[in-house]
């Protein structure tokens, strides 16, 4: 007899697996959600909502070939749904004081913090599909095919959205620094 989810003790292993998954992915998902929403609280809300959905479908998620891709798809769908519902507060606007929350930390470069705010503001100005394409391609480092799978669209759509998004971001104020400034950064363990 198979284990049943949640309410039976037989689901204990599933629950443990799920908890380990949450702990392991939380930080990464939070960073992606932050870029999508432009706000830390909204990001937490998005990730929590996405992981709750993953919990409901954990049987399917855990046996999926790529559980991360499954959860990423849930996140993109949840983000799109909220955006379409008109939750504009979900996005920080450049004229809102919320951006001021991104204050420089100890030892942080003020210029970097300002740049982050500029980038978040510029991202918030992008149409949400362009924002998703840019974040998935250039932060998550997904291929065009993987991005298309996450967004539920064609590779061509990903290409055009990402290209337009990049162009708009590049033309945004404050994004003109040279790439040599940040070569020391690590991308969740990967040296760029």
């Amino acid at each position: 007899m198979r284990d049943t989810a949640g309410e039976t003790a037989g689901a204990g292993r599933d629950s443990t697996d799920f908890q380990a998954f949450v702990v392991g992915r939380w930080s990464r998902l939070m960073r992606t959600a932050y870029l999508l929403t432009g706000d830390q609280y909204a990001a937490e809300d998005l990730v929590q909502s996405c992981l709750e959905r993953a919990f409901v479908a954990w049987r399917r998620v855990s046996v999926a070939q790529d559980p991360d891709a499954y959860v990423r798809r849930i996140m993109i769908n949840t983000h799109a749904r909220r955006y379409r519902k008109g939750l504009k507060e979900y996005l920080s606007r450049s004229d809102e004081p919320a951006l001021g929350r991104d204050l420089p930390q100890r030892g942080d470069d003020m210029a970097q913090a300002v740049e982050r705010s500029d980038l978040v503001a510029a991202l918030a100005q992008l149409p949400f599909r362009q924002r998703e394409a840019v974040v998935l391609r250039y932060w998550e480092d997904l291929s065009e095919t993987q991005t298309a799978a996450a967004m539920g669209c064609s590779v061509g759509t990903v290409k055009s959205n990402a290209a337009r998004g990049i162009t708009r971001l590049r033309s945004a104020v404050g994004l003109s620094r040279t790439s040599t400034d940040t070569t020391h950064l690590t991308h969740e363990g990967r040296t760029r």
Binding site: M1, T8, S27, M30, R53, E115, L119, I166, L185
Partner: protein, 243 residues
């Protein structure tokens, strides 16, 4: 990547890594997930009830006049397969009545029927795309399928499902269930045809003999019995055939 793409990629990384993330609120996520799942089940149950009511209405209106000789919708080959249902155990927990009921879906006669039956099961019961061999329902060609559902007060939740066991193997399969409210648990089990009694041994050494119940449509027998909370990682309830 082009230089401009690399530039944006680095800025994104810089921005994303610049935020401070707290510890994952695992408990809150699990609790939220459970609430979501329960809401989904309640909604699903309501939809099933509505569909059943509508189907009943259609069947009533489509029934032929007595003696007319025409077939009813229910007799049509494309009528939606439906399970046979019976309550196998009842009790009271935290002042609320509880029941465990069994839905029995018959073994399918051919591949078409298996696929139709699988689809109907997926709609009517707790969904699971991997069940019974997936959407083709290939396992339904070999065995019927049961679903156990718990109802506490007005709340209905899924307990377990599986293939109906074959006759003569003396097998008893079990799982733990937890009542929706309070810390109380129960053991659920299905015994192969031919098993006359079952004895459960709890973690504290006590024994119990649950009453076996049959459901129309199968010779398999089912039981559900209140039980002390299992130890963490206790495994499945130890209930064995008595003869």
């Amino acid at each position: 990547m082009t230089p401009s793409e690399t530039d944006v990629s680095e800025l994104l990384a810089d921005t994303a890594l610049g935020i401070q993330t707290k510890h994952a609120p695992v408990e809150a996520i699990v609790a939220g997930g459970r609430r979501r799942r329960n809401r989904r089940r309640v909604t699903g149950a309501a939809a099933v009830a509505l569909a059943a009511a509508c189907t009943g209405g259609i069947l009533t209106s489509a029934l032929p006049d007595e003696g007319s000789g025409t077939a009813s919708v229910a007799a049509a080959p494309h009528a939606l397969p439906r399970p046979r249902t019976a309550v196998i155990a009842t009790g009271v927990v935290d002042g609320k009545p509880w029941t465990v009921s069994i839905d029995v879906w018959q073994r399918a006669a051919d591949t078409n029927e298996a696929a139709r039956q699988w689809k109907a099961m997926e709609k009517a019961e707790f969904p699971d795309p991997q069940r019974a061999g997936g959407p083709e329902g290939t396992q339904l060609l070999h065995a019927g399928w049961f679903f156990a559902n718990l109802k506490v007060g007005m709340r209905r939740s899924f307990v377990d499902d599986g293939a109906l066991p074959e006759a003569g193997n003396g097998k008893v399969e079990t799982s733990w269930g937890k009542f929706n409210s309070g810390p109380n648990w129960f053991a659920f089990g299905v015994a192969a045809p031919g098993v006359h009694s079952v004895t459960c041994t709890w973690d504290d050494g006590r024994k119990a003999t649950p009453q076996l119940r049959t459901v129309a449509g199968t010779d398999s027998q089912f039981f559900a019995i209140e039980a002390p909370a299992p130890q963490p990682n206790a495994g499945l309830p130890r209930c064995t055939a008595g003869d």
